[in-house]
C-alpha cells in the first residue's frame, strides 16, 4: 500500500437482489487529489459512494482509510474519522436554521463559532444563517449540504452530482470552491455527469460500467477510448 494513498478500495462488490451494482471495484486516492468517477446510469457510481461512506455495507472487498480498515464501521464513526459526503438531492435538516445545520457537526469535529462563520462565508451562506433550511432554494441547499460536510473537517469528501441544476455562473464558482477544498489537503471523489464541469476539476477519472472499472486515466484519453465510447453511446 503506497503511503501517499489516503483511501484504498479493493475489489468491492455489492448486489441488490439479482442486480450486481458493484463488481470488484478498486480505487486509490491521495490527500489533496481530485478523482472523477464517471459512467452511464446504473453503472454503480452512486453505489460506490454509498458503500465507501457507509450507507450500504459491501458484500465483499475492503475499504482502507488512512491505513485503517473502515468497511465495518457505522456512518458516524467514518464521519468522525474524516469521511464525509454530499447528496445528489441535498438533505439538509429542513426544520433547523442554516447555522444550526452546521452546529450539529461542529460539536463532533471541534469546530468553533468562528469556523462556522468562516464556512458560511466561504459557501456564500452567511446572510442566510438565521433562515430555516427549508426556505432555501436548491442551489443554496446544495451549498448548505456541502457546508454541513465541510464543518465535519473531512479528509475525504465524496461529492455526488453536485453540478446538476446549477447555472453556468454557479458552476464556475462551485468548481472554484471544490478546488479550494482540495488544495487544503482534502481528497475529493467526484461523481459527475457533466464532463465539462469535471474537466475543470481534474484530469484523472475512473470510468465505470456494470459495477466495474473499465478505464482509469486522464479524461481526454478516456474520451478517445473505444470501450468508453462504446458504453456511453451503446448504453
Amino acid at each position: 500500500m503506497s503511503p501517499s494513498a489516503l483511501l484504498v478500495v479493493e475489489r468491492l462488490s455489492k448486489h441488490f437482489g439479482a442486480f450486481q451494482a458493484l463488481d470488484g471495484l478498486s480505487l486509490k486516492l491521495a490527500s489533496g487529489e481530485i478523482l472523477g468517477l464517471v459512467g452511464p446510469n446504473g453503472s454503480g457510481k452512486t453505489t460506490a459512494i454509498n458503500v465507501i461512506s457507509g450507507v450500504y455495507t459491501a458484500d465483499a472487498g475492503t475499504i482502507h482509510f488512512d491505513g485503517q480498515p473502515v468497511g465495518g464501521l457505522p456512518i458516524h464513526r467514518r464521519a468522525h474519522l474524516g469521511i464525509n459526503r454530499t447528496f445528489q438531492v441535498p438533505k439538509p435538516f429542513k426544520g433547523l436554521t442554516v447555522s444550526e445545520n452546521l452546529e450539529i457537526a461542529a460539536v463532533y469535529s471541534g469546530a468553533g463559532r468562528d469556523e462556522i462563520g468562516k464556512c458560511l462565508e466561504f459557501l456564500e451562506l452567511a446572510p442566510l444563517a438565521g433562515r430555516e433550511a427549508a426556505s432555501l432554494n436548491s442551489a443554496q441547499q446544495k451549498r448548505l449540504d456541502l457546508a454541513r460536510a465541510l464543518i465535519a473537517r473531512p479528509r475525504l469528501l465524496l461529492v455526488d452530482e453536485l453540478a446538476a441544476g446549477l447555472n453556468p455562473a454557479e458552476l464556475q464558482r462551485m468548481a472554484q470552491t471544490l478546488m479550494t477544498i482540495a488544495s487544503s489537503g482534502v481528497a475529493l471523489l467526484v461523481v459527475e455527469h457533466l464532463l465539462s464541469f469535471l474537466r475543470e476539476l481534474t484530469s484523472r477519472v475512473v470510468v465505470m460500467d456494470a459495477g466495474r472499472e473499465i478505464f482509469e486515466g486522464p479524461l481526454d484519453v478516456a474520451a478517445r477510448d473505444p470501450q468508453v465510447i462504446d458504453i456511453f453511446l451503446g448504453g
Binding site: 461512506s53 457507509g54 450507507v55 457505522p74 456512518i75 458516524h76 464521519a79 468522525h80 464525509n84 459526503r85 447528496f87 438533505k91 439538509p92 435538516f93 429542513k94 426544520g95 433547523l96 444550526e100 445545520n101 452546529e103 450539529i104 457537526a105 461542529a106 460539536v107 463532533y108 469535529s109 468553533g112 463559532r113 449540504d145 454541513r148 460536510a149 465535519a152
Partner: protein
C-alpha cells in the same frame, strides 16, 4: 457556543418551568380539588414525555401509555411484593418502564406510521400480559391493584410536582443542549445526521428511554395517588391520545407548546367535561383535523410566524 443564555442563572425556558412548577405548589392552598391539579400535572409531564420523543425525534408513540401502565404496575408491585416505601417504588416503576423501552427499542427501526401502530400494539401486549388471569398471583390479573396502606394524597401530590419538574428539566436541557439539536437533526434527516457525526441509533434510543422513564414515573405516581386501579385504567389508550394531542396543539419541540396545549385543552376538558362531556371527544377530533389542515406545527408556530422565539 452559548447555548446557555447569559444574564440569568437558568437556561432558556428555565424560568417558565420554575413558574409553572411553583404554580402547582401554590394552587393547592387556594383550590381544593387536588385531583384535578394532580391530573393536570400528570398530563403536563406526559405531554413533555411525548415531546421528548415525538417533538425531538419524530417518532409518534401511540402506545406511550404502555410505559405509563408499566410504571404504575412496577411501582405498585414494588410496594405490594417487595414492601418498598412508595418513593423508592416510583423509581422501580421508572426502571420497569425503561427496561420495557429497551426491549422495544427495535421498534425504532420502523418509520412513521408503522412505528406508531407497532408501539400501540406493544402497549396492548403489555396490557394483556399484565391483566391475564393466569398471572393473578403476580399482578392481580384483571382484578386490579389496591395500595390502600400506602395511600397518601399529599405525598403523592408532592411526588408528581417533582416528576413535573424533572420532565421540564429534561425538555429545557434538550432545548438548550447539543443532544436536543442532534435529535432534531435525526428527525429531519437521519442519514445526514449520521454524516454530521451523530450516532443516530444511540441518541434516539436515549430519547426513547428518557421518554419512557418520564411516563414510568408519572404512572407510578398516579398509581400511588389513586391507590386503587384496574389494568384498563392505567393502560387506557386515551392517556396516550390526550398527551399527544395536547403536545401537537401547543407545538412540538418547544418547552412552552405542550404546557400551553395541556393547560388550555385539559382545562377545556374539565370545563366541558363537567357540564357536557359527550361533546368533548368531538371537539377533540375537530381540533386535531383543523390542526393538521391549518396549523401543523401547533400554536407555537403562530408565534414563530410573527418572529417571536418560543422557548
Amino acid at each position: 457556543m452559548d447555548y446557555w443564555a447569559k444574564g440569568c442563572g437558568l437556561p432558556r425556558g428555565g424560568w417558565y418551568s420554575v413558574g409553572v412548577v411553583a404554580l402547582f405548589i401554590v394552587l393547592p392552598f387556594v383550590y381544593g380539588n387536588h385531583d384535578l391539579l394532580f391530573n393536570m400535572m400528570m398530563y403536563l409531564a406526559l405531554a413533555q414525555g411525548i415531546n421528548v420523543l415525538f417533538g425531538f425525534t419524530g417518532y409518534l408513540p401511540f402506545g406511550y401509555v404502555g410505559f405509563f401502565g408499566s410504571g404504575a404496575y412496577g411501582a405498585s408491585l414494588a410496594v405490594l411484593l417487595l414492601h418498598l416505601p412508595p418513593v423508592l417504588a416510583l423509581l422501580v416503576g421508572a426502571v420497569i418502564a425503561v427496561l420495557l423501552a429497551l426491549l422495544l427499542a427495535p421498534l425504532l427501526r420502523l418509520s412513521g406510521a408503522y412505528f406508531a401502530i407497532a408501539s400501540l400494539a406493544a402497549s396492548e401486549v403489555v396490557y394483556y400480559i399484565v391483566s391475564n388471569p393466569h398471572l393473578e398471583s403476580l399482578t392481580q390479573g384483571p382484578y386490579g391493584i389496591s395500595l390502600a396502606r400506602a395511600y397518601d394524597a399529599d405525598a403523592s401530590y408532592a411526588a408528581m410536582v417533582v416528576v413535573l419538574a424533572l420532565a421540564f428539566g429534561v425538555v429545557v436541557y434538550l432545548r438548550n443542549s447539543h443532544l436536543g439539536l442532534a435529535l432534531q437533526a435525526i428527525r429531519e434527516e437521519p442519514v445526514s445526521a449520521e454524516f454530521a457525526g451523530v450516532n443516530v441509533v444511540r441518541e434516539r434510543t436515549c430519547a426513547w428511554l428518557l421518554s419512557a422513564a418520564l411516563a414510568g414515573l408519572a404512572g407510578g405516581t398516579y398509581a400511588w395517588h389513586v391507590s386503587v386501579f384496574y389494568p384498563k385504567s392505567v393502560f387506557d389508550l386515551n392517556i396516550s391520545v390526550f398527551a399527544i394531542v395536547f403536545t401537537l396543539f401547543g407545538g412540538v419541540a418547544t418547552l412552552l407548546g405542550p404546557i400551553v396545549g395541556t393547560l388550555l385543552l385539559y382545562g377545556l376538558y374539565n370545563w366541558i367535561g363537567i357540564s357536557q362531556p359527550e361533546y368533548f371527544q368531538l371537539v377533540f377530533g375537530i381540533v386535531i383535523v383543523m390542526l393538521v389542515l391549518f396549523l401543523p406545527n401547533g400554536l407555537a408556530s403562530l408565534l414563530r410566524r410573527v418572529n417571536v422565539h418560543v422557548p
